[in-house]
Subunit: 125 residues, 2 copies
Amino acid sequence: MAHVSISDAEWQVMNVVWEGQPLTSQEIVAQLADQADWAAATIKTMLHRLVKKKVLTFEQQGNRYVYRSCVRRADCVKQASRSFLQRVFESEPAPLLAHFMQTTKLSAEEIADLRRILDKKEAQK
Amino acid sequence: MAHVSISDAEWQVMNVVWEGQPLTSQEIVAQLADQADWAAATIKTMLHRLVKKKVLTFEQQGNRYVYRSCVRRADCVKQASRSFLQRVFESEPAPLLAHFMQTTKLSAEEIADLRRILDKKEAQK
DNA sequence: TGTAAATAACTACAAGTGTAAACGTTGTCA
DNA sequence: TGACAACGTTTACACTTGTAGTTATTTACA
């Protein structure tokens, strides 16, 4: 689980896998067809690399592979988030939060939810 | 301003520059001494690459260079943030915000500030 | 004014990335 | 059972990145 590093393009693949696993490579290729303009071979290469990195495993079924992630998305999100916070916001969460609040669209419910999280956070002090 | 891509290590250098510019390379090296364990030559290489990428400019003063950024930090932050949001949170800001709220420490004032931002955001609807 | 010290430029090199073609193997339909 | 299609494997290649040594140039002190 240590220092797995998932590249930009690989994240795109992993997002598909985490959402629909287990998936065959054809299914993955199909899912990605809208999002990215990759040759099937390109996606196969990435699957291969992800297996080598121990981020994915596969089971063979006939001549096709069925892929499954072997790291939890939440763990990868946590790791990537920490590194982003460090790199771009020099480990200061408040400006990061302010930035995203100000530059993105949020529905009324989402705002309410976020407020609730802040409430809870404050209560915990 | 388009698609400048600043790497991980380069961000560390740029953070120093943005904070103290204009700076000579020795000053940059000195600043980074605490943060990273890089040989001076390594930092010079990065400065060089950043100049080539048009992220930095320099002025020659005698035999030393004085560096200045030629892209605004805010622009780079915006770009990196958008790309992170896309990659890791599939362009959904609310989960991103929830994640960082829940996994980081925030002071009472910071929480208050964030609430204020949410208030304003809601009022704008 | 020559030589040492400082500084920037050039060169290096392995690992990772994006991108994909070529190849070999296996399954399937005629 | 033979040929084609489907699928995974291997090979490829240029670019980026992290990391730093080597070289050339400039300055400054003796």
